[in-house]
Protein backbone atom coordinates (compact mmCIF):
# COMPACT_ATOMS: atom_id res chain seq x y z
CA UNK A 1 0.00 0.00 0.00
CA UNK A 2 1.35 3.39 -0.92
CA UNK A 3 1.00 6.37 1.36
CA UNK A 4 1.02 9.78 -0.27
CA UNK A 5 2.34 12.88 1.41
CA UNK A 6 0.27 15.83 0.27
CA UNK A 7 2.15 18.45 2.29
CA UNK A 8 3.82 21.12 0.21
CA UNK A 9 7.50 21.32 1.17
CA UNK A 10 9.23 24.50 2.28
CA UNK A 11 11.96 24.79 -0.33
CA UNK A 12 15.29 26.07 0.90
CA UNK A 13 17.59 27.95 -1.42
CA UNK A 14 20.74 28.61 0.54
CA UNK A 15 19.61 30.42 3.67
CA UNK A 16 16.32 31.54 2.17
CA UNK A 17 12.97 29.86 2.06
CA UNK A 18 11.70 30.16 -1.47
CA UNK A 19 8.06 31.19 -1.40
CA UNK A 20 5.76 33.38 -3.49
CA UNK A 21 6.25 37.12 -3.16
CA UNK A 22 3.73 38.67 -0.80
CA UNK A 23 4.29 36.00 1.80
CA UNK A 24 7.46 35.86 3.81
CA UNK A 25 9.37 33.40 5.94
CA UNK A 26 12.76 33.51 7.58
CA UNK A 27 14.90 30.72 8.81
CA UNK A 28 17.98 31.14 10.94
CA UNK A 29 20.46 28.99 12.76
CA UNK A 30 21.31 29.75 16.36
CA UNK A 31 23.61 28.48 19.02
CA UNK A 32 21.76 27.89 22.24
CA UNK A 33 23.48 27.13 25.49
CA UNK A 34 23.68 27.72 29.19
CA UNK A 35 25.95 30.48 30.42
CA UNK A 36 28.32 29.51 33.13
CA UNK A 37 27.99 32.56 35.32
CA UNK A 38 31.44 32.73 36.90
CA UNK A 39 33.69 32.21 33.94
CA UNK A 40 31.39 33.55 31.23
CA UNK A 41 31.96 30.55 29.01
CA UNK A 42 29.10 28.62 27.50
CA UNK A 43 28.34 25.06 28.34
CA UNK A 44 25.88 22.47 26.92
CA UNK A 45 25.71 24.14 23.59
CA UNK A 46 23.45 22.93 20.84
CA UNK A 47 22.29 24.18 17.48
CA UNK A 48 18.74 25.16 16.80
CA UNK A 49 16.70 26.75 14.03
CA UNK A 50 14.08 29.35 14.39
CA UNK A 51 11.52 29.87 11.64
CA UNK A 52 9.36 32.93 11.46
CA UNK A 53 6.38 32.67 9.14
CA UNK A 54 2.72 33.47 8.87
CA UNK A 55 0.28 30.64 9.51
CA UNK A 56 -1.28 30.99 6.05
CA UNK A 57 1.86 29.58 4.46
CA UNK A 58 2.55 26.18 3.05
CA UNK A 59 -0.14 23.55 3.49
CA UNK A 60 -2.64 25.07 5.89
CA UNK A 61 -6.29 25.06 6.77
CA UNK A 62 -8.17 28.37 6.77
CA UNK A 63 -10.54 28.67 9.72
CA UNK A 64 -13.68 30.83 9.90
CA UNK A 65 -11.84 33.18 12.24
CA UNK A 66 -9.88 34.38 9.18
CA UNK A 67 -12.93 36.53 8.51
CA UNK A 68 -13.72 36.96 12.21
CA UNK A 69 -16.49 34.35 12.21
CA UNK A 70 -15.96 32.87 15.63
CA UNK A 71 -18.11 29.81 15.13
CA UNK A 72 -15.46 27.35 16.17
CA UNK A 73 -12.72 27.25 18.73
CA UNK A 74 -9.70 25.66 17.07
CA UNK A 75 -8.30 24.70 20.45
CA UNK A 76 -11.26 22.41 21.04
CA UNK A 77 -11.56 20.70 17.69
CA UNK A 78 -11.82 16.92 18.03
CA UNK A 79 -8.99 15.00 16.41
CA UNK A 80 -11.30 12.81 14.32
CA UNK A 81 -12.44 15.89 12.44
CA UNK A 82 -9.10 15.83 10.64
CA UNK A 83 -9.21 12.12 9.81
CA UNK A 84 -11.87 11.30 7.29
CA UNK A 85 -12.58 9.92 3.86
CA UNK A 86 -11.85 12.24 0.97
CA UNK A 87 -12.89 12.36 -2.66
CA UNK A 88 -10.41 13.65 -5.22
CA UNK A 89 -11.77 15.55 -8.20
CA UNK A 90 -9.30 15.47 -11.07
CA UNK A 91 -9.41 18.78 -12.92
CA UNK A 92 -5.98 19.14 -14.44
CA UNK A 93 -5.76 21.59 -17.31
CA UNK A 94 -4.12 24.83 -18.37
CA UNK A 95 -5.26 27.46 -15.87
CA UNK A 96 -3.66 30.49 -17.47
CA UNK A 97 -6.97 31.81 -18.78
CA UNK A 98 -10.15 30.49 -17.19
CA UNK A 99 -11.21 29.66 -13.66
CA UNK A 100 -12.54 26.24 -12.70
CA UNK A 101 -16.29 26.18 -13.32
CA UNK A 102 -19.08 24.02 -12.03
CA UNK A 103 -19.84 22.53 -15.47
CA UNK A 104 -16.38 20.99 -15.66
CA UNK A 105 -16.67 19.03 -12.45
CA UNK A 106 -20.41 18.54 -11.94
CA UNK A 107 -20.50 15.04 -13.42
CA UNK A 108 -17.57 13.96 -11.27
CA UNK A 109 -19.42 14.74 -8.04
CA UNK A 110 -22.12 12.42 -6.77
CA UNK A 111 -24.50 14.57 -4.77
CA UNK A 112 -25.93 11.56 -2.96
CA UNK A 113 -22.63 10.80 -1.29
CA UNK A 114 -22.90 14.06 0.59
CA UNK A 115 -26.62 14.59 0.99
CA UNK A 116 -27.34 11.19 2.51
CA UNK A 117 -24.85 11.57 5.33
CA UNK A 118 -25.24 13.81 8.33
CA UNK A 119 -22.99 16.81 8.03
CA UNK A 120 -20.18 15.82 10.36
CA UNK A 121 -19.80 12.46 8.63
CA UNK A 122 -19.46 13.77 5.10
CA UNK A 123 -16.24 13.20 3.18
CA UNK A 124 -13.81 15.99 2.40
CA UNK A 125 -13.54 17.20 -1.18
CA UNK A 126 -10.13 17.66 -2.80
CA UNK A 127 -9.48 19.34 -6.13
CA UNK A 128 -6.43 18.31 -8.12
CA UNK A 129 -5.71 21.17 -10.50
CA UNK A 130 -2.15 20.19 -11.30
CA UNK A 131 -0.87 23.58 -10.14
CA UNK A 132 1.36 22.04 -7.50
CA UNK A 133 4.00 21.21 -10.09
CA UNK A 134 4.85 24.95 -10.14
CA UNK A 135 5.25 25.22 -6.35
CA UNK A 136 8.84 26.33 -5.59
CA UNK A 137 9.81 26.01 -9.24
CA UNK A 138 7.88 28.84 -10.84
CA UNK A 139 6.21 30.89 -8.15
CA UNK A 140 4.84 33.49 -10.51
CA UNK A 141 2.93 30.83 -12.40
CA UNK A 142 1.85 29.21 -9.17
CA UNK A 143 0.35 32.47 -7.93
CA UNK A 144 -1.55 33.02 -11.16
CA UNK A 145 -4.20 30.40 -10.42
CA UNK A 146 -7.54 31.97 -11.38
CA UNK A 147 -9.54 30.30 -8.60
CA UNK A 148 -12.84 28.45 -8.49
CA UNK A 149 -15.85 30.08 -10.10
CA UNK A 150 -18.58 31.53 -7.93
CA UNK A 151 -21.11 28.96 -9.14
CA UNK A 152 -18.85 26.09 -8.09
CA UNK A 153 -18.22 27.61 -4.68
CA UNK A 154 -21.92 28.19 -4.12
CA UNK A 155 -22.62 24.61 -5.16
CA UNK A 156 -20.11 23.39 -2.58
CA UNK A 157 -21.41 25.69 0.12
CA UNK A 158 -25.12 25.07 -0.29
CA UNK A 159 -25.49 21.62 -1.86
CA UNK A 160 -22.52 19.55 -0.70
CA UNK A 161 -21.54 21.17 2.62
CA UNK A 162 -18.44 19.06 3.21
CA UNK A 163 -16.52 19.65 6.46
CA UNK A 164 -13.58 20.98 4.46
CA UNK A 165 -12.34 21.24 0.91
CA UNK A 166 -8.77 21.03 -0.31
CA UNK A 167 -6.94 22.35 -3.32
CA UNK A 168 -3.42 22.03 -4.67
CA UNK A 169 -3.18 25.72 -5.53
CA UNK A 170 -2.40 28.89 -3.65
CA UNK A 171 -6.02 29.86 -3.03
CA UNK A 172 -9.55 29.16 -4.12
CA UNK A 173 -9.94 32.82 -5.06
CA UNK A 174 -7.99 34.98 -7.41
CA UNK A 175 -6.44 37.77 -5.39
CA UNK A 176 -6.14 41.22 -6.81
CA UNK A 177 -2.57 41.95 -5.80
CA UNK A 178 -1.20 38.93 -7.63
CA UNK A 179 -3.29 39.53 -10.68
CA UNK A 180 -2.52 43.20 -11.28
CA UNK A 181 -1.86 43.79 -14.92
CA UNK A 182 1.61 45.22 -14.51
CA UNK A 183 2.90 41.89 -13.24
CA UNK A 184 1.70 39.84 -16.14
CA UNK A 185 2.50 39.95 -19.77
CA UNK A 186 -0.40 37.78 -20.88
CA UNK A 187 -3.63 39.66 -20.31
CA UNK A 188 -6.29 37.85 -18.34
CA UNK A 189 -9.46 38.76 -20.22
CA UNK A 190 -11.82 37.01 -17.85
CA UNK A 191 -10.46 38.97 -14.94
CA UNK A 192 -10.61 42.26 -16.77
CA UNK A 193 -14.24 41.56 -17.59
CA UNK A 194 -15.02 40.85 -13.97
CA UNK A 195 -13.36 44.11 -13.00
CA UNK A 196 -15.23 45.98 -15.68
CA UNK A 197 -18.56 44.59 -14.51
CA UNK A 198 -17.63 45.66 -10.97
CA UNK A 199 -18.39 42.21 -9.67
CA UNK A 200 -15.04 41.68 -8.07
CA UNK A 201 -15.08 41.16 -4.33
CA UNK A 202 -11.80 40.14 -2.81
CA UNK A 203 -11.82 36.64 -1.31
CA UNK A 204 -15.53 36.16 -1.93
CA UNK A 205 -15.15 32.39 -2.22
CA UNK A 206 -13.38 32.21 1.12
CA UNK A 207 -16.12 34.27 2.67
CA UNK A 208 -18.93 32.11 1.30
CA UNK A 209 -17.34 28.87 2.47
CA UNK A 210 -16.08 30.02 5.87
CA UNK A 211 -19.41 31.63 6.65
CA UNK A 212 -20.93 28.16 6.20
CA UNK A 213 -18.22 26.64 8.41
CA UNK A 214 -16.48 24.85 5.55
CA UNK A 215 -12.73 24.97 6.08
CA UNK A 216 -10.30 25.37 3.23
CA UNK A 217 -7.15 23.30 2.96
CA UNK A 218 -4.83 25.19 0.64
CA UNK A 219 -1.48 24.63 -0.96
CA UNK A 220 -1.53 20.86 -1.11
CA UNK A 221 1.03 18.94 -3.12
CA UNK A 222 -0.83 16.41 -5.23
CA UNK A 223 1.74 15.73 -7.92
CA UNK A 224 2.17 12.06 -7.08
CA UNK A 225 -1.47 11.10 -6.99
CA UNK A 226 -2.27 9.05 -10.11
CA UNK A 227 -5.27 9.67 -12.31
CA UNK A 228 -7.21 6.60 -11.21
CA UNK A 229 -7.11 7.30 -7.47
CA UNK A 230 -10.17 9.28 -6.50
CA UNK A 231 -11.03 8.13 -3.03
CA UNK A 232 -9.21 7.40 0.17
CA UNK A 233 -8.51 8.28 3.75
CA UNK A 234 -7.24 11.78 4.41
CA UNK A 235 -5.27 12.57 7.53
CA UNK A 236 -4.78 16.32 7.73
CA UNK A 237 -3.37 16.82 11.20
CA UNK A 238 -2.52 20.32 12.43
CA UNK A 239 1.14 20.79 13.29
CA UNK A 240 0.38 22.59 16.51
CA UNK A 241 -2.05 21.97 19.27
CA UNK A 242 -3.26 25.07 21.06
CA UNK A 243 -4.94 25.34 24.41
CA UNK A 244 -6.01 28.47 26.16
CA UNK A 245 -5.09 28.95 29.81
CA UNK A 246 -6.98 32.19 30.23
CA UNK A 247 -10.52 33.14 29.45
CA UNK A 248 -9.46 35.65 26.88
CA UNK A 249 -8.72 33.74 23.72
CA UNK A 250 -6.25 34.53 20.99
CA UNK A 251 -7.79 34.39 17.55
CA UNK A 252 -6.13 31.63 15.56
CA UNK A 253 -6.93 31.99 11.89
CA UNK A 254 -5.21 29.05 10.28
CA UNK A 255 -3.73 25.69 11.12
CA UNK A 256 -0.61 24.56 9.27
CA UNK A 257 -1.20 20.91 8.49
CA UNK A 258 0.71 17.77 7.71
CA UNK A 259 -1.47 15.99 5.19
CA UNK A 260 -1.28 12.28 4.42
CA UNK A 261 -3.45 10.38 2.00
CA UNK A 262 -4.10 6.63 1.94
CA UNK A 263 -5.88 5.48 -1.21
CA UNK A 264 -8.74 3.06 -0.81
CA UNK A 265 -7.38 -0.50 -0.53
CA UNK A 266 -8.21 -2.75 -3.45
CA UNK A 267 -9.76 -6.18 -3.68
CA UNK A 268 -11.97 -7.74 -1.05
CA UNK A 269 -11.24 -5.05 1.54
CA UNK A 270 -12.53 -2.42 -0.85
CA UNK A 271 -15.86 -4.23 -0.83
CA UNK A 272 -15.93 -4.38 2.94
CA UNK A 273 -15.27 -0.66 3.11
CA UNK A 274 -18.00 -0.03 0.56
CA UNK A 275 -20.42 -1.97 2.72
CA UNK A 276 -19.36 -0.05 5.80
CA UNK A 277 -20.04 3.12 3.87
CA UNK A 278 -23.51 1.90 2.94
CA UNK A 279 -24.12 1.02 6.56
CA UNK A 280 -23.02 4.47 7.63
CA UNK A 281 -25.39 5.99 5.10
CA UNK A 282 -28.34 4.01 6.44
CA UNK A 283 -27.48 4.81 10.03
CA UNK A 284 -26.92 8.50 9.59
CA UNK A 285 -30.40 8.82 8.11
CA UNK A 286 -31.73 7.53 11.41
CA UNK A 287 -29.67 10.01 13.40
CA UNK A 288 -30.53 12.97 11.16
Amino acid sequence: MRVYDLTAPLCLEGDEIKIPKPKSAEISLELIGHDLLLSGTKLFKYLSNSIRFELHLGTHMDLPSTFAYQTVDPTNMPIDFFIREALIIHAERDYSKKSLTLDEVRNKINLGEFAELSRERRPALLFKTGMSKYWCRDNQKYMSFPGLSKSLIEFIAYELEPPFIGIDAISIDRTIEHRSLSLYTNIDEEFINILRMQEYTALLGHDILLRKNIYILENLDMNDIPQDVNRGLLIALPLFRFTSLTEKKTLITALPCRVIFLPEPEGSIEEVIKKLRALEKELSEIVK
Binding site: D80, G267, E271, K275, L276, E282, I286
Partner: protein, 302 residues
Protein backbone atom coordinates in the same frame (compact mmCIF):
# COMPACT_ATOMS: atom_id res chain seq x y z
CA UNK B 1 -69.23 23.28 45.16
CA UNK B 2 -66.73 24.66 42.76
CA UNK B 3 -64.66 26.22 45.49
CA UNK B 4 -64.26 22.89 47.28
CA UNK B 5 -62.51 21.29 44.36
CA UNK B 6 -58.79 21.96 44.06
CA UNK B 7 -57.18 23.09 40.84
CA UNK B 8 -55.50 19.72 40.49
CA UNK B 9 -58.84 18.00 40.88
CA UNK B 10 -60.35 20.08 38.08
CA UNK B 11 -57.47 19.07 35.93
CA UNK B 12 -58.18 15.44 36.66
CA UNK B 13 -61.86 15.84 35.75
CA UNK B 14 -60.86 17.38 32.47
CA UNK B 15 -58.61 14.47 31.58
CA UNK B 16 -61.19 11.83 32.47
CA UNK B 17 -63.97 13.75 30.75
CA UNK B 18 -61.91 13.78 27.58
CA UNK B 19 -61.83 9.99 27.65
CA UNK B 20 -65.60 9.79 28.19
CA UNK B 21 -66.48 9.63 24.52
CA UNK B 22 -65.32 6.72 22.33
CA UNK B 23 -64.27 9.07 19.53
CA UNK B 24 -62.19 11.25 21.80
CA UNK B 25 -60.77 8.08 23.33
CA UNK B 26 -59.64 6.93 19.89
CA UNK B 27 -58.09 10.32 19.09
CA UNK B 28 -56.12 10.31 22.32
CA UNK B 29 -55.07 6.70 21.92
CA UNK B 30 -53.79 7.41 18.43
CA UNK B 31 -51.77 10.40 19.62
CA UNK B 32 -50.34 8.66 22.66
CA UNK B 33 -47.05 7.91 20.93
CA UNK B 34 -46.18 11.60 21.26
CA UNK B 35 -45.67 12.18 17.56
CA UNK B 36 -47.11 15.16 15.72
CA UNK B 37 -50.05 14.37 13.44
CA UNK B 38 -51.93 16.44 10.95
CA UNK B 39 -55.66 16.81 11.53
CA UNK B 40 -56.46 14.85 8.39
CA UNK B 41 -54.46 11.86 9.55
CA UNK B 42 -56.41 11.76 12.80
CA UNK B 43 -59.78 12.25 11.09
CA UNK B 44 -59.08 9.51 8.55
CA UNK B 45 -57.93 7.10 11.21
CA UNK B 46 -60.74 7.65 13.67
CA UNK B 47 -63.58 7.81 11.19
CA UNK B 48 -62.32 4.66 9.46
CA UNK B 49 -62.17 2.81 12.77
CA UNK B 50 -65.45 4.03 14.24
CA UNK B 51 -67.50 4.51 11.11
CA UNK B 52 -68.47 8.00 12.26
CA UNK B 53 -68.43 10.81 9.66
CA UNK B 54 -65.37 13.04 9.64
CA UNK B 55 -67.31 16.15 10.63
CA UNK B 56 -68.26 14.54 13.94
CA UNK B 57 -64.68 13.54 14.59
CA UNK B 58 -63.63 17.07 13.74
CA UNK B 59 -65.99 18.47 16.37
CA UNK B 60 -64.50 16.27 19.06
CA UNK B 61 -61.02 17.14 17.85
CA UNK B 62 -61.77 20.83 18.26
CA UNK B 63 -63.16 20.23 21.72
CA UNK B 64 -59.92 18.57 22.78
CA UNK B 65 -58.01 21.49 21.27
CA UNK B 66 -60.18 23.99 23.13
CA UNK B 67 -59.57 22.39 26.52
CA UNK B 68 -55.83 22.13 25.95
CA UNK B 69 -55.56 18.35 25.78
CA UNK B 70 -54.13 18.71 22.29
CA UNK B 71 -51.96 21.55 21.16
CA UNK B 72 -50.50 22.77 17.91
CA UNK B 73 -46.76 22.37 17.30
CA UNK B 74 -46.11 23.86 13.90
CA UNK B 75 -46.37 23.14 10.23
CA UNK B 76 -45.70 19.92 8.41
CA UNK B 77 -42.66 19.77 6.13
CA UNK B 78 -44.56 18.28 3.24
CA UNK B 79 -47.32 19.92 1.31
CA UNK B 80 -50.90 18.79 1.76
CA UNK B 81 -53.59 18.20 -0.83
CA UNK B 82 -54.35 21.86 -1.41
CA UNK B 83 -50.70 22.83 -1.79
CA UNK B 84 -50.47 24.23 1.71
CA UNK B 85 -48.45 22.90 4.59
CA UNK B 86 -50.93 21.40 7.07
CA UNK B 87 -50.68 22.17 10.79
CA UNK B 88 -49.34 19.54 13.17
CA UNK B 89 -50.88 18.64 16.53
CA UNK B 90 -49.55 16.73 19.53
CA UNK B 91 -50.85 15.81 22.95
CA UNK B 92 -49.93 18.48 25.49
CA UNK B 93 -47.12 17.41 27.81
CA UNK B 94 -49.16 17.01 30.97
CA UNK B 95 -51.94 15.10 29.21
CA UNK B 96 -49.39 12.88 27.49
CA UNK B 97 -47.82 11.88 30.80
CA UNK B 98 -51.24 11.47 32.42
CA UNK B 99 -52.65 9.21 29.71
CA UNK B 100 -49.41 7.29 29.24
CA UNK B 101 -49.33 6.53 32.98
CA UNK B 102 -53.01 5.65 33.02
CA UNK B 103 -52.82 3.28 30.10
CA UNK B 104 -49.62 1.72 31.36
CA UNK B 105 -51.39 0.99 34.63
CA UNK B 106 -54.57 -0.29 33.00
CA UNK B 107 -52.91 -2.39 30.33
CA UNK B 108 -50.11 -3.81 32.49
CA UNK B 109 -47.37 -1.82 30.83
CA UNK B 110 -48.38 -2.53 27.25
CA UNK B 111 -48.59 0.96 25.82
CA UNK B 112 -47.08 2.33 22.72
CA UNK B 113 -43.59 3.39 23.75
CA UNK B 114 -42.35 4.30 20.33
CA UNK B 115 -41.09 7.72 21.38
CA UNK B 116 -38.75 6.38 24.03
CA UNK B 117 -37.70 3.64 21.67
CA UNK B 118 -36.77 6.22 19.08
CA UNK B 119 -34.68 8.17 21.57
CA UNK B 120 -32.89 5.07 22.70
CA UNK B 121 -32.22 3.80 19.23
CA UNK B 122 -30.88 7.17 18.11
CA UNK B 123 -28.29 7.19 20.87
CA UNK B 124 -27.43 3.57 20.12
CA UNK B 125 -27.07 4.42 16.46
CA UNK B 126 -24.61 7.16 17.33
CA UNK B 127 -22.34 4.76 19.20
CA UNK B 128 -22.71 2.34 16.32
CA UNK B 129 -21.60 5.01 13.86
CA UNK B 130 -18.52 5.65 15.98
CA UNK B 131 -17.59 1.98 16.00
CA UNK B 132 -18.06 1.80 12.23
CA UNK B 133 -15.64 4.70 11.92
CA UNK B 134 -13.00 2.89 13.94
CA UNK B 135 -13.45 -0.34 12.00
CA UNK B 136 -13.03 1.53 8.73
CA UNK B 137 -9.99 3.44 9.92
CA UNK B 138 -8.43 0.14 10.95
CA UNK B 139 -9.16 -1.40 7.56
CA UNK B 140 -7.49 1.50 5.77
CA UNK B 141 -4.41 1.31 7.94
CA UNK B 142 -4.05 -2.47 7.88
CA UNK B 143 -4.60 -2.46 4.14
CA UNK B 144 -3.75 -5.64 2.30
CA UNK B 145 -2.36 -7.47 5.27
CA UNK B 146 -5.79 -8.88 6.02
CA UNK B 147 -6.24 -12.37 4.63
CA UNK B 148 -8.87 -13.03 1.99
CA UNK B 149 -10.78 -15.29 4.31
CA UNK B 150 -11.18 -12.66 7.02
CA UNK B 151 -12.41 -10.04 4.60
CA UNK B 152 -14.94 -12.42 3.07
CA UNK B 153 -16.27 -13.17 6.54
CA UNK B 154 -16.46 -9.47 7.31
CA UNK B 155 -18.32 -8.93 4.09
CA UNK B 156 -20.87 -11.59 4.97
CA UNK B 157 -21.53 -10.15 8.42
CA UNK B 158 -21.99 -6.70 6.96
CA UNK B 159 -24.41 -8.02 4.34
CA UNK B 160 -26.78 -9.17 7.05
CA UNK B 161 -26.39 -5.86 8.90
CA UNK B 162 -27.22 -3.66 5.94
CA UNK B 163 -30.60 -5.19 5.24
CA UNK B 164 -31.42 -5.12 8.92
CA UNK B 165 -30.46 -1.52 9.41
CA UNK B 166 -32.30 -0.25 6.37
CA UNK B 167 -35.34 -1.86 7.91
CA UNK B 168 -34.66 -0.24 11.24
CA UNK B 169 -34.64 3.08 9.45
CA UNK B 170 -38.16 2.39 8.22
CA UNK B 171 -39.34 1.31 11.64
CA UNK B 172 -37.71 4.03 13.69
CA UNK B 173 -38.53 6.87 11.37
CA UNK B 174 -41.46 5.93 9.21
CA UNK B 175 -41.53 9.31 7.48
CA UNK B 176 -43.14 7.67 4.48
CA UNK B 177 -45.11 4.58 5.35
CA UNK B 178 -44.89 2.21 2.44
CA UNK B 179 -47.29 3.38 -0.24
CA UNK B 180 -46.23 1.74 -3.47
CA UNK B 181 -46.08 -1.95 -4.14
CA UNK B 182 -42.52 -2.15 -5.43
CA UNK B 183 -41.10 -0.60 -2.28
CA UNK B 184 -43.18 -2.97 -0.21
CA UNK B 185 -41.77 -5.97 -2.08
CA UNK B 186 -38.24 -4.65 -1.64
CA UNK B 187 -38.78 -4.32 2.10
CA UNK B 188 -40.31 -7.78 2.34
CA UNK B 189 -37.26 -9.10 0.51
CA UNK B 190 -35.00 -7.49 3.08
CA UNK B 191 -37.04 -8.92 5.89
CA UNK B 192 -36.97 -12.41 4.41
CA UNK B 193 -33.18 -12.39 4.12
CA UNK B 194 -32.62 -11.47 7.75
CA UNK B 195 -32.86 -14.41 10.12
CA UNK B 196 -32.33 -12.14 13.07
CA UNK B 197 -35.46 -10.22 12.28
CA UNK B 198 -37.59 -13.25 11.55
CA UNK B 199 -36.65 -14.73 14.90
CA UNK B 200 -38.53 -11.84 16.50
CA UNK B 201 -41.83 -12.86 15.01
CA UNK B 202 -43.75 -15.95 16.12
CA UNK B 203 -45.82 -18.08 13.81
CA UNK B 204 -49.05 -17.04 15.50
CA UNK B 205 -48.20 -13.39 15.10
CA UNK B 206 -47.39 -13.93 11.43
CA UNK B 207 -50.72 -15.62 10.96
CA UNK B 208 -52.45 -12.70 12.62
CA UNK B 209 -50.68 -10.16 10.41
CA UNK B 210 -51.47 -12.12 7.25
CA UNK B 211 -55.08 -12.25 8.30
CA UNK B 212 -55.26 -8.53 9.00
CA UNK B 213 -53.79 -7.79 5.58
CA UNK B 214 -56.31 -10.19 4.04
CA UNK B 215 -59.18 -8.31 5.67
CA UNK B 216 -57.80 -4.87 4.87
CA UNK B 217 -57.12 -5.53 1.20
CA UNK B 218 -60.22 -7.61 0.50
CA UNK B 219 -58.22 -10.17 -1.46
CA UNK B 220 -60.29 -13.37 -2.00
CA UNK B 221 -59.01 -16.53 -0.33
CA UNK B 222 -58.36 -18.41 -3.58
CA UNK B 223 -56.26 -15.60 -4.94
CA UNK B 224 -54.40 -15.39 -1.65
CA UNK B 225 -53.74 -19.12 -1.95
CA UNK B 226 -52.24 -18.61 -5.40
CA UNK B 227 -50.18 -15.73 -4.08
CA UNK B 228 -48.77 -17.92 -1.35
CA UNK B 229 -48.10 -20.74 -3.79
CA UNK B 230 -50.84 -23.15 -2.61
CA UNK B 231 -52.19 -25.23 -5.47
CA UNK B 232 -54.67 -27.25 -3.50
CA UNK B 233 -57.25 -29.66 -4.90
CA UNK B 234 -59.67 -29.00 -2.06
CA UNK B 235 -61.58 -25.79 -2.32
CA UNK B 236 -60.42 -23.03 -0.02
CA UNK B 237 -63.39 -21.35 1.55
CA UNK B 238 -62.08 -19.72 4.65
CA UNK B 239 -58.84 -18.28 5.83
CA UNK B 240 -58.41 -21.11 8.35
CA UNK B 241 -58.33 -23.69 5.52
CA UNK B 242 -55.62 -21.70 3.85
CA UNK B 243 -53.57 -21.45 7.00
CA UNK B 244 -53.77 -25.21 7.53
CA UNK B 245 -52.46 -25.72 4.00
CA UNK B 246 -49.64 -23.28 4.64
CA UNK B 247 -48.67 -24.99 7.87
CA UNK B 248 -48.45 -28.40 6.27
CA UNK B 249 -46.64 -27.33 3.11
CA UNK B 250 -43.97 -25.04 4.51
CA UNK B 251 -43.41 -26.63 7.86
CA UNK B 252 -43.31 -23.21 9.52
CA UNK B 253 -40.32 -21.85 7.65
CA UNK B 254 -40.88 -18.13 7.36
CA UNK B 255 -38.02 -17.44 4.97
CA UNK B 256 -39.22 -19.68 2.16
CA UNK B 257 -42.74 -18.52 2.84
CA UNK B 258 -41.88 -14.85 2.37
CA UNK B 259 -39.63 -15.60 -0.61
CA UNK B 260 -42.51 -17.38 -2.33
CA UNK B 261 -44.81 -14.48 -1.61
CA UNK B 262 -42.31 -12.06 -3.15
CA UNK B 263 -41.74 -14.14 -6.27
CA UNK B 264 -45.48 -14.66 -6.82
CA UNK B 265 -46.59 -11.12 -6.08
CA UNK B 266 -47.59 -9.02 -9.05
CA UNK B 267 -48.40 -5.42 -8.45
CA UNK B 268 -52.00 -5.53 -9.56
CA UNK B 269 -54.59 -3.54 -7.65
CA UNK B 270 -55.78 -6.07 -5.10
CA UNK B 271 -52.55 -8.03 -4.75
CA UNK B 272 -50.61 -4.79 -4.49
CA UNK B 273 -52.79 -3.52 -1.68
CA UNK B 274 -52.38 -6.88 0.09
CA UNK B 275 -48.59 -6.67 -0.07
CA UNK B 276 -48.60 -3.04 1.02
CA UNK B 277 -50.82 -3.61 4.03
CA UNK B 278 -48.83 -6.71 5.04
CA UNK B 279 -45.57 -4.75 4.89
CA UNK B 280 -47.01 -1.85 6.84
CA UNK B 281 -48.32 -4.16 9.53
CA UNK B 282 -44.95 -5.90 9.77
CA UNK B 283 -43.22 -2.56 10.11
CA UNK B 284 -45.66 -1.52 12.83
CA UNK B 285 -44.97 -4.76 14.64
CA UNK B 286 -41.21 -4.43 14.40
CA UNK B 287 -41.30 -0.81 15.48
CA UNK B 288 -42.39 -1.93 18.90
CA UNK B 289 -40.18 -5.02 19.16
CA UNK B 290 -36.88 -4.38 17.40
CA UNK B 291 -34.04 -2.40 18.94
CA UNK B 292 -30.65 -1.52 17.63
CA UNK B 293 -28.96 -3.21 20.53
CA UNK B 294 -28.77 -6.52 18.69
CA UNK B 295 -27.24 -4.80 15.72
CA UNK B 296 -24.70 -3.01 17.88
CA UNK B 297 -23.70 -6.37 19.26
CA UNK B 298 -23.44 -7.75 15.75
CA UNK B 299 -21.14 -4.97 14.58
CA UNK B 300 -18.96 -5.06 17.66
CA UNK B 301 -18.21 -8.74 17.05
CA UNK B 302 -16.41 -7.85 13.82
Amino acid sequence: MASLISKQGKHLFKHFKALGNPIRFLIIYKMLDGRPYTKNEILDYVSALSGVPQTTVDRHFRTLLKYGIIRMTGKSHSYGERGRKPLLYVLAVDSLTFYANLFTYLLDGVTDRRLKLIERSVSETKTLLESINYVRLGLYLVGRELSEEVSVNLSKTLDSCISLISLVRETVRPKTPVIDCENAIKLLDKMSSSQMLLRQISQDKMRELLYVAHIESGLPVEKLGLLLGIKSQTKLEEYDDLWREIETSYNSDLTTFLKLLISNAKCTDVEGSYVISLTNNLIKYFSSSITNRDIVRLILTI
